[in-house]
């Protein structure tokens, strides 16, 4: 069953076409990665799908609702963890989680239950009372993703979730993301080939706003005629093989 379907999605900024007639279908429970070099249109696609910016043309159906006509309904289904660690720095981890519980209208009991559940899932129990601004980059990312999951979203958007993290923090976060697979549809953007290969069910490769290739890691390697995924990516992007 499709959770996301984009139809000729376009985003233009004056002379620049950031996303160009994107057609994409993502299945329920799938972990789908958008891969591409800088300026490929990954973040813009995520921004349109999460109703942060309106498409110039085309439309997308997210969880059964149109992003152009039913943004409010879409917002109730999604969770977003932006590229930057978007947290309230002077608030503790617990207060950040409480903030998002309050915004989503949770009762006191549900808030306590949710915090317990997410702090367990993201191993945040020991830092619940610490101010987020004083945490390491890896912990901040975990808090950021935990905040995105508070609303019990059906669809989770992760924009470069491991950007700037060290190897250990990155692998820890991968484990957490893997644990979410199946229950939530995850759309992830990344620059890291190994991240996309390790986590994704399917990968879409973008360049200059266009979708160049789409498939599983094995399908993309086969398409590029390479045994190495990074080499396959470079080949697809350079040759623009579709």
């Amino acid at each position: 069953m499709q959770t996301i379907k984009t139809t000729n999605l376009v985003k233009r900024y004056k002379d620049l076409t950031a996303v160009n007639k994107l057609c994409l279908e993502i299945e329920q429970g799938e972990l789908f990665s958008l891969l591409g070099v800088n300026g490929a249109g990954k973040t813009t696609t995520l921004k349109m799908l999460s109703c942060l910016t309106k498409p110039t043309d085309g439309d997308a159906i997210v969880g059964g609702f149109s992003i152009t006509k039913e943004a409010e309904q879409v917002k109730r289904l999604i969770g977003v963890s932006p590229q930057e660690t978007a947290v309230a720095p002077n608030l503790t981890v617990k207060e950040n989680l409480e903030l998002f519980c309050g915004i989503h209208g949770f009762t006191k009991e549900k808030t306590q239950m949710k915090i317990k559940e997410l702090s367990g899932l993201f191993s945040l129990d020991d830092v619940l009372q610490r101010k987020v601004g004083r945490l390491s980059g890896g912990l901040k990312r975990r808090v950021s993703i935990a905040m995105a999951l508070i609303s019990e979203p059906k669809i989770l958007f992760l924009d470069e979730p491991t950007l700037g993290l060290d190897v250990i923090a990155r692998h820890d976060l991968w484990d957490t993301i893997r644990s979410l697979k199946g229950s939530v549809t995850i759309i992830l953007t990344t620059h890291y080939m190994e991240e996309a290969a390790a986590l994704s069910d399917r990968i879409g490769i973008m360049k200059h706003g266009r979708l160049l290739a789409l498939g599983t890691v094995e399908e993309l390697k086969k398409k590029a005629g390479s045994d190495d995924f990074e080499a396959a990516f470079v080949s697809i992007v350079k040759e623009e093989t579709v």
Partner: protein
């Protein structure tokens, strides 16, 4: 409910910033102390505590602009605001959530200034209560100005514009440091075209129980508050749409 949750968060962010507390509360109190000490050592009545304190409370409000502008600009730069736009919070939740917490902080700052001035010789009367309540329109002006600046400037720009420029504008054009009648001319005309001197004069009048005189100054303050509030809401909605 959602708006109150967001407002609570904004209150915590502001009150937990030591620089905010240091400047917003500490600086006006240091000025009161310093100028009172100067007054004690000069033969003319330049900084009498009964006229100085209402003026300092008006000057202190300029820090509310800095607080709200810094908070909003920071939220924009760290993408927290962008993330919150993907939640069910509405535009009015954001605007009220940013503005409401600062009103009690502004009034609290005013009360602390008056209490601090009592041991320095301030005349204690019921009029202090009226003077505190009379601060509300000017507080709204300053908070709205913060919403406006935070919606259009970066954190760095806010520091310069609200932290340095506005606090100086408020100080020079409020007539707290010197009698504007003595300067007169273009400077005086500009000062009376702005709300700062009207707020300072209204505060002094309320503190002295001269309510008719206070009434004469309230109109420009109300007009400025309404105008800046409307522009601030427009600017906030515009940047919200841009995000």
């Amino acid at each position: 409910m959602r708006m109150m949750t967001f407002a609570k968060r904004c209150t915590k962010e502001i009150l937990r910033d030591p620089i905010n507390l240091g400047f917003g509360l500490g600086f006006p109190l240091v000025l009161l102390l310093l100028l009172s000490a100067i007054q004690a050592n000069i033969p003319v009545n330049l900084f009498e505590i009964d006229t100085l304190t209402p003026g300092i409370t008006v000057f202190g409000l300029s820090f509310m602009t800095l607080f709200s502008a810094t908070l909003i600009a920071k939220d924009r730069e760290t993408a927290l605001l962008q993330r919150l736009y993907t939640t069910p919070l509405t535009a009015s939740d954001f605007i009220m959530g940013y503005m409401l917490p600062l009103l009690p902080i502004a009034l609290g700052q005013t009360v602390i200034c008056y209490l601090f001035a009592v041991p320095l010789g301030l005349t204690v009367s019921v009029n202090i209560i009226y003077a505190v309540i009379g601060m509300i329109p000017m507080a709204v002006f300053n908070i709205s100005l913060g919403l406006l600046c935070g919606s259009i400037f970066s954190v760095k720009q806010v520091g310069g514009i609200c932290g340095a420029l506005l606090t100086n504008l408020s100080a020079w054009f409020s007539g707290v440091w010197f009698d504007l009648e003595l300067v007169g001319g273009l400077f005086g005309k500009i000062a009376y075209a702005l709300p700062f001197v009207h707020a300072a004069e209204m505060e002094k009048a309320l503190f002295n129980g001269r309510f008719e005189l206070a009434g004469a100054h309230i109109l420009p303050i109300l007009l400025y508050s309404l105008l800046i509030s409307a522009v601030a809401v427009f600017a906030f909605l515009r940047q919200m749409k841009k995000q």
